[in-house]
């Protein structure tokens, strides 16, 4: 068996992990602050998703230790996941279409006929 697997070295110091935690808390505070800043929904969504991706990357890279793993493991896991998630965006045009198709009741909706 390869000796690499037996290795129990865990890269990264507690100081590094604490600084990552501080960054994560600060980014969360920015998100909460954004909630009360008047801006267009699509702009807020873009900023929030950007911040979430940065936070997720910090967690995966340092807390989940992926930054210190072999490149082959990173290339096996990350691109496949990103592509699959991007493929889910194919549904969005339909959501806008269905919003346009929705029937708008100008008056009270018709009551069901009694038999």
């Amino acid at each position: 068996m390869s000796t690499h697997v037996e290795e129990e070295h865990f890269a990264g110091s507690n100081k590094l992990f604490t600084s990552i935690w501080v960054w994560l808390v600060l980014l969360t505070l920015v998100e909460i602050g954004l909630a009360y800043k008047p801006m267009a929904l699509h702009l807020m969504l873009t900023i929030l998703l950007g911040l979430s991706i940065i936070k997720a990357a910090l967690i995966v890279a340092y807390f989940m230790h992926l930054k210190f793993e072999r490149l082959s493991l990173i290339l096996t896991i990350v691109p496949m996941l990103v592509i699959c998630i991007c493929l889910l965006f194919v549904f969005f045009p339909d959501s806008f279409r269905s919003a346009g198709l929705r029937y708008e009741f100008k008056e009270q909706p018709p009551a069901a006929e009694e038999h």
């Binding site: 070295h9 865990f10 507690n14 992990f17 889910l88 708008e104 009741f105």
Partner: protein, 226 residues
Amino acid sequence: MSTEARAVHFPAADWDGGVHPYRVGHRKLGMWLFIVSDSLTFSALLMGYAYLRASNVWPTPFPFYPSIVFSSVMTFCLLSSSLTMVFGVSASSRGDKVLARKWILATIFFGVAFIVLHLIEWNHLISEGLRPFSLPAHWVSTFTTTDGKLPSPLFGATFFTITGLHMFHVATGAIYLSVVAARVKKLKHEDIEISGLYWHFVDLVWMFVFPLIYILSVDVGGHLAK
């Protein structure tokens, strides 16, 4: 000669990982693959939520207190739990299993605090009248648009499904870590690292659930309070 035995003799430049090309054990690789598949589950749920939100009038009912205060403290709990977990894994790698157990117990404490706060938040919304397929009456009247479009009654369905599934993962993780803490001296370092991977994943999912479900549903104008 077996396949594994032959693999050891590959030149290092071609096959540096030997029989472990990713330089991780099969259990750790299995956890990574589970995390990938579970990420897709949550991605699909969040995409379904985004679909419904884009195609309907969507209520934004969360006040600063209790919803945003509670969810922010819950976020702080999960982030802190990830820090204590990584301290635990780090202690385990140095062979200090006693210290590792203490950090894992601290992680469980933060996880349970998250669940308790989340249940209080759920109770608040349920007592206000939110159900999976209907909104409280005063939400409907407040968020109906001026041209008469009613807010989607599916707000509760998406909220309870996504946060409920996440809470289930936190509860499962707390039980998993309890077992790890109880057996920490018998377990290998890699086993503790694997439990850490699961716990950090639970934290990672919340980094998307919190802004998309809570922050984007803040009642900025205080419409419900009027």
